[in-house]
């Protein structure tokens, strides 16, 4: 029983970590009023750049940072279109999701002799060292360092959004940009920065997959994580703590799938695999209910328009 509980916690945190990064990115972007459907694409870019950088530098920490930068670079495209040029944010995000896997695979094939996956690359350490508790059940609680970083980022984002002047400005820009503008807040700059940070977080999310969990980039390393993260943003009502909780819930149901699948249960594995997705819908229907987006979410701000 204790073993199962430990296993459950360990797997939950492992599964939820990349989602947390992606969801936090979604939160900051959407709180500033820019819908970011492109989280998935930015995570893919993070995944490939982290794996490549880790391979070429042999230093996963540098790789982690490179992934953040590359994620932000892709996000700059989204920001340029949706903030500077007042483009349709949904369309721009969808374009990012098309572009990113293309770029990722093109880069991968160019760097690694036409292979659609990288070799095994150096990984980020675990919090108690790589071999602590090896062979015991406690090894499951020897978390990836990225799990801790994700939690720290969630707390930091909560603090910034709700306890600092800049956070108040971000929220103002997302709720009523015209009002914020009259108070002298630069709406465009605030949104641009938020989208860049969003891309950086998503890049970290990709890196936390390829340099902490599976230690290589493959075509399916990021498959739908960004979309689940996007759902977690809405589920968590556009708050960092809510999004974090939504990711944990999702990770927990995934862990249940693993645990139940290992037992002697007659439920077919494919049906069991549906559990996290059903659970999400059921939780939403029963407990969460109506979600209200930031008021100006998805609306390009055009100076002077009413």
């Amino acid at each position: 029983m204790l073993n199962d509980a430990i296993l459950l916690v360990g797997i939950t945190l492992m599964y939820s970590t990349p989602l947390v990064f992606g969801a936090l990115g979604g939160v900051i972007s959407e709180r500033s009023g820019v819908v970011n459907i492109g989280i998935e694409g930015m995570m893919v870019i993070g995944a490939i750049s982290a794996a490549s950088a880790s391979y070429f530098t042999q230093n996963p920490w540098i790789a982690f940072l490179v992934a953040g930068l590359c994620g932000a670079a892709v996000a700059a495209l989204h920001a340029l279109a949706s903030v500077t040029f007042s483009a349709n944010q949904t369309v721009s995000g969808v374009a990012i999701n098309l572009l990113a896997p293309g770029i990722a695979l093109f880069a991968c094939r160019s760097f690694f002799d036409g292979a659609a996956m990288t070799p095994i690359v150096p990984k980020l350490p675990k919090i108690f060292g790589d071999n602590a508790f090896a062979g015991t059940i406690w090894a499951n609680l020897n978390l990836n360092v990225t799990t801790v970083i994700a939690l720290a980022l969630a707390l930091a984002l909560w603090f910034v959004l709700y306890k600092t002047k800049w956070g108040l400005r971000v929220r103002a820009v997302g709720e009523h940009p015209a009002a914020a503008d009259t108070l002298g807040i630069d709406v465009y700059r605030t949104r641009f920065i938020c989208v860049l940070i969003s891309g950086m977080f998503a890049g970290f999310g990709g890196a936390s997959m390829t340099t902490a969990i599976i230690s290589q980039f493959t075509q399916t390393a990021i498959s739908g994580h960004g979309f689940i993260a996007m759902a977690a943003v809405i589920f968590g009502k556009w708050t960092p703590q809510g999004a974090y909780g939504a990711c944990l819930l999702f990770g927990c149901t995934q862990a249940l799938v693993v645990l139940l699948g290992g037992g002697n249960i007659v439920v077919p594995s494919q049906i069991l695999a549906m559990l996290p997705y059903f659970m999400t819908i059921i939780v939403l229907v029963l407990f969460v209910g109506r979600s209200v987006a930031p008021k100006a979410d998805g609306v390009p701000y055009i100076k002077g328009s009413r």
Binding site: A87, A95, G102, L284, R290
Partner: protein, 404 residues
């Protein structure tokens, strides 16, 4: 000059420029990676249009993404973002396979039965998403993403069941041939048919080497009908009114909840239809185990957005998209360039279609230039000044407030 300005203000200009930029970006990427762009594009066109059977394959590939594109465009015009097209597509394929395997009626009845049941599956799934939004206020994006995965696993489950699993394979049993929708499936393989086709090489190429089917015609009809439904009927008006301003629509006496469900139901029907037509129209005529999303829904998003969310515009957009994807395979074979270049190209095209405001802006600039050069000013609407009067007033007020 005036015709140029007028042209630049039309949506089609933005689309053409977006495609041109897509090719330009792809050319740069190819050149940087060491592949000759000119020869790569030649291979692309050769691979998409070089032989009658290639063209037929492009049309076959365009069919499902035309329908999912229309579904996304339709939902978008009613204020809903149907990212669940993928799941509704899979629902269509699953039910089409189950019904097509279980029953074996004469062809016309069988085809009708399979198509209706598959489309219904997509419709119900869409309506479910719409219901959750209308009744509980749950964002359609969440439920769509969740149902996409549920349908993926359901598909894999059905493939694995004893009743439908085809032994020693990763797919289910193919549907009964009475449900096939190819063009003359039996005649073209008969002796008389082959003898006849030997005289017409291009037709032989198309019929015998591809699964040319009637799906595209159905898809085109759906695109046109969906456009008419939205633009010319009372229902379409109500759907768009709800999408445009929910509160105003409610105030005007429109049943908002009913219309949300209805919009998703119709959108889902199109996706389900896309799934069915792939089962009845092309081999292997069945569902197979899927490891990751196959992209029919997500490609539908791209098609819809390239088309500016016009349902009829999805027809050329889907052909362009299918042509690029199908021709891209030839680029990889001939040039050795990764076919992912096509994703980069399509992504760029969609990215630039997101910027519809740029072309009219360019038109304004040209208009101003020509006006100042002494030409008679083009008879068109006034260009708004960059900083409207009220905004300037507000800024001045603000400055004063600070001083006091």
């Amino acid at each position: 000059m005036n015709t140029l300005i007028r042209f630049l203000r039309k949506p089609i200009a933005s689309a053409i420029v977006a495609v041109a930029v897509g090719f330009a970006v792809a050319a740069v990427v190819l050149a940087v990676a060491g592949f000759a762009p000119g020869r790569s594009f030649a291979a692309l066109f050769q691979g998409a249009l070089g032989r009658p059977k290639y063209i037929a394959n492009v049309i076959i590939k365009a069919t499902p993404i035309l329908l999912t594109g229309v579904a996304v465009a339709f939902a978008y015009q009613t204020g809903l973002f149907n990212i669940g097209a993928e799941g509704q597509y899979i629902a269509g394929t699953i039910v089409a396979t189950i019904v097509g395997v279980t029953f074996d009626f004469p062809a016309p009845i069988q085809i009708l039965l399979v198509i209706v049941s598959g489309a219904l599956a997509g419709a119900l799934l869409g309506a479910f998403i719409g219901f959750l939004k209308a009744r509980f206020g749950i964002h359609e994006v969440i439920t769509s993403i969740m149902t996409n995965w549920i349908m993926l696993y359901l598909c894999n489950f059905i493939v694995s069941t004893d009743a439908f699993h085809k032994t020693n394979s990763t797919s289910a049993i193919p549907i009964n041939p009475s449900g096939y929708t190819m063009v003359l499936p039996n005649w073209k393989r008969s002796e008389a048919g082959i003898e006849f086709l030997n005289n017409i090489p291009w037709l032989k190429d198309v019929l015998l080497k591809t699964d040319l089917n009637f799906g595209f015609l159905i898809a085109v009809a759906v695109a046109i009908l969906a456009g008419i439904l939205l633009a010319r009927t009372e229902l379409g008006y109500e759907l768009r009114a709800v999408g445009h301003n929910r509160d105003a629509a409610h105030f005007a006496g429109i049943n908002v909840e009913k219309n949300i469900i209805l919009a998703m139901l119709i959108s889902g029907t199109f996706c389900g239809l896309a799934g069915v037509l792939n089962i009845t129209g092309i081999s292997p005529h069945t569902i197979t185990t899927i490891a990751a999303m196959e992209g029919y829904g997500f490609n539908g998003l791209s098609v819809a957005f390239i088309a500016g969310c016009s349902t009829v515009g999805c027809i050329p957009a889907s052909l362009l998209f299918a042509g690029l994807i199908y021709g891209g395979m030839t680029v990889q074979q001939v040039m050795g360039a990764p076919s992912d270049i096509i994703s980069i190209m399509i992504g760029t095209i969609v990215f630039f279609t997101a910027l519809p405001g740029v072309m009219p802006l360019l038109a304004d600039v040209i208009e101003r230039r020509t006006a100042s050069a002494g030409d008679p000013p083009a008879p068109h609407t006034e260009v708004p000044p960059e900083l409207p009067a009220q905004d300037r007033a507000v800024r001045v007020d603000n400055g004063k407030g600070g001083e006091e």
